[in-house]
């Protein structure tokens, strides 16, 4: 085997020194979110999204249909329990459609939140070996869940058409143009909360348990299986629990847009957007701080 010569070809000595490309140091500006770097890694983001979407149901017989089965059966169960047994009124809207809309949008939030809150722990293996902007992973989750949400929305549209053909009076309204805004808010809220939790969970595992049942409790205060108005009417002293919950507004408004049921106010939308952006920014800051050395504590 040939060994390499002990003297290397000396690099040409340039008199003027090139500037440093970047610096790895102990202290870093908390606000330096390197957007340029994230853009450079955009292919990785897309590959992660593809991986998440494609691999979930590999080696299953029903394949992507699993994305549809979950919300359908949950909506069916909700309809039986909450509408038929517990008699929650959904007005003129078929309860099944009402629940399907609520569950689809709630699921999107839930998967974003639980997915991102596990970022550091679940990807410890890669994170401890290679550097790439850590925020790529939670971002990819938001996108891949968006794809799943899209598929679920598709089935919703299917049932929608079915009910229209049957002659049921359902119709969207003009605020539907804001539906993408609602979806983006939902994703960002899940992302922001998830990033805060994932950063803290690297050190304090307690939060992991909190998330599991916290998300369940949150669903009950998020107007998923009942209209917002019903809460105000039946439990006025606890209505604030729902009224201060941005997720409840998102669920309620998306139903309003799709089915013209419930109510809508610009004030509520503004409140939700503000809370979302505050949480997102706090989340990014904490995440940014944590990503630099979480591997020592995780």
């Amino acid at each position: 085997m040939i060994s390499c010569p002990t003297t290397m070809n000396k690099p040409s000595q340039t008199t003027q020194e090139q500037p440093w490309l970047y610096t790895i140091s102990a202290k870093q500006n908390a606000l330096s979110l390197n957007l340029k770097e994230i853009w450079r890694y955009r292919d990785l983001l897309m590959l992660f999204v593809k991986r998440d979407v494609v691999t979930v149901y590999k080696q299953t017989i029903l394949g992507p249909f699993w994305y549809l089965i979950q919300p359908l059966f949950t909506a069916l169960t909700f309809t039986l329990i909450f509408n038929n047994v517990a008699n929650i009124s959904t007005g003129t809207i078929p309860p099944f459609l009402f629940n399907l809309a609520g569950i689809s949008i709630w699921n999107y939030f839930k998967t974003c939140l639980t997915g991102t809150s596990d970022t550091f722990k679940a990807n410890e293996g890669i994170f401890s070996k290679v550097y790439f902007p850590r925020v790529i992973l939670p971002l990819s989750l938001v996108f891949s869940n968006l794809v799943k949400f899209g598929i679920q929305l598709f089935i919703f549209v299917g049932f929608y058409v079915f009910y229209v053909v049957k002659g049921t009076a359902v119709s969207p309204n003009s605020t539907l143009v804001l539906f993408p805004v609602i979806v983006v808010l939902m994703g960002l809220l899940g992302l922001g909360l998830g990033m805060i939790i994932s950063s803290l969970v690297t050190k304090y595992r307690d939060l992991k348990y909190l998330v599991t049942f916290g998300v369940q409790l949150l669903m009950y205060t998020s107007a998923v299986m009942y209209p917002l108005a019903l809460m105000r009417e039946k439990l006025p002293q606890y209505a604030w629990l729902v009224e201060y919950n941005p997720v409840a507004y998102i669920v309620e408004y998306s139903r309003y847009m799709l089915l013209s049921v419930g109510d809508f106010s610009w004030y509520g939308l503004g409140f939700t957007a503000t809370v979302t952006f505050v949480i997102l920014i706090v989340g990014l800051l904490i995440f940014n701080r944590t990503e630099r050395s979480f591997i020592d504590t995780v």
């Binding site: 085997m1 870093q28 590959l47 991986r51």
Partner: protein, 430 residues
């Protein structure tokens, strides 16, 4: 051009369990920071010595690391387990941040810390090439351009559209190394990847790394326990010990320093050694620079020095330096009797006996040096110790040809040989 510069890098770790104590320390830290004071825990902490019991809950895995790397240089980083090598690489590859200090760089760093991270078992080989390449920092277009080369290099053509979970572990490593080998960062960080794969693939991997460093002029930082690959690849090496840099410079010397770090702990001997009517004041092995060593590089010159102080009677002494292998077989003896160097020494006289060898010619491995001192006047053995010192020999360029012998062709002993070829006239051939 200096492509990378590390300034005062230190890294502190907390020992023990992360529990309720963590929160109180964190709060204390936060409280100090709020008041604009320095982190109180940075002042404490033990040096990183794995085998001793420390007093502090905090330990310094690295302390005040300073070095510079020139463009195109292949820098080896060697050290024992726990010396801080991996921590240094983790900081270099931005997996974790240093506690103090900073690293400045003029190029993109990509690391090859452990191949195969980020492989998804359900995806096919081809899909994983893309995913892994992107994780390592390549864009989709870059990977597409090299896809065929990567597949060819890995030698897994047949399985490339099969999920990776069906691969053998060797095939996974091949594929992963292939992806990483075609990365084109300015600075490549490699940790012990050559320990995997079969012999054929290892050879291929070393060849590829030589191409990367020599042909393409890329800067490489290479961590390994394998002194041979360090010798083959590196142009400079630094030695880490307990979180400090103990040596920075020429490769062979670095290997010496590293091996001696190890040996010195085993051979602690109190000199002078008092024997029957004679004292051994010191025994030293020196390399060509005059440094004391306790390991050898094949083909290099060495000098053995034995410093004796005689007692009351005059003697004719005969010194034998013996080399035993680990199975106690006597391999060779340097004997003053056969070279007619027996020496008369007077009472109270001090002598320094020096034995020089031009080319160390015992093959790589561990040896024991034994010392015998015999008084030929009275025919008595003054000293006989077979386990005087444990030494090791590493592979080297014995024939000064720029080539290091391959393991399987090594043998146990090297003899300086010369070859000659004579071409016969064609009409003389029958």
């Amino acid at each position: 051009m200096i492509i990378l510069k590390a300034e005062n890098i230190s890294k502190q770790y907390r020992l023990g369990l992360v529990g309720t104590g963590t929160l109180s320390d964190d709060l204390k830290r936060w409280w100090y920071r709020v008041r604009g004071k320095e982190d109180p825990f940075l002042k404490i902490g033990d040096t990183n010595d794995r085998s001793t019991k420390g007093d502090s809950d905090y330990v310094w895995a690295l302390q005040d690391i300073n070095f510079e790397v020139q463009q195109g240089e292949v820098l080896g980083i060697i050290g024992k387990n726990g010396a801080g090598k991996s921590t240094l690489l983790k900081i270099l590859s931005r997996v974790t941040a240093p506690t103090t200090g900073e690293i400045k760089t003029r190029g993109r760093i990509a690391s090859l810390l452990e191949v195969g991270t980020g492989f998804h078992p359900e995806l096919t080989g081809r899909e994983n090439i893309y995913l892994n390449g992107a994780i390592l920092g390549m864009t989709k277009a870059e990977i597409k351009e090299k896809e065929d080369e990567i597949i060819a290099f890995s030698g897994c053509e047949r399985y490339v559209d099969t999920p990776v979970k069906r691969y053998s572990s060797g095939m996974r490593v091949r594929l992963a190394f292939a992806v990483a080998a075609f990365l084109e960062p300015d600075i490549l960080v490699i940790d012990e990847v050559l320990a995997v794969g079969d012999a054929e693939f290892q050879k291929k991997a070393i060849g590829k790394m030589q191409d990367i460093s020599q042909g393409e002029g890329r800067t490489v930082l290479f961590v390994s326990h394998n002194m041979e690959s360090i010798q083959q690849l590196c142009t400079r090496a630094i030695v880490l010990k307990n979180g400090f840099i103990t040596f920075d410079g020429e490769v062979n010397q670095a290997i010496h320093t590293y091996l001696d770090n190890d040996q010195n702990e085993k051979n602690i001997k109190g000199f002078p050694l008092i024997l029957k009517d004679i004292k051994i004041k010191s025994f030293e092995i020196q390399n060509s620079n005059g440094d004391n060593v306790s390991s050898f590089i094949l083909g290099m010159p060495y000098r053995f020095t034995l410093n004796l102080i005689n007692g009351q009677t005059s003697k004719i002494i005969n010194i034998r330096l013996q080399f035993f292998d680990t199975k106690e077989n006597l391999i060779t003896t340097f004997n003053t009797f056969f070279t007619n160097n027996q020496q008369l020494i007077n009472p109270q006289e001090e002598v320094i006996a020096t034995c020089s060898i031009n080319k160390f010619s015992l093959g790589p491995g561990d040896y024991k040096i034994g010392i015998q001192i015999i008084d030929l006047k009275l025919m008595t053995t003054l000293f006989d110790e077979e386990n005087f010192e444990l030494v090791s020999v590493v592979n080297g360029d014995f024939y000064n040809s720029g080539k290091i012998p391959v393991k399987k062709n090594l043998g146990k002993v090297f003899i300086d040989t010369s070859w000659d070829f004579k071409k016969m006239e064609s009409d003389k051939i029958i």
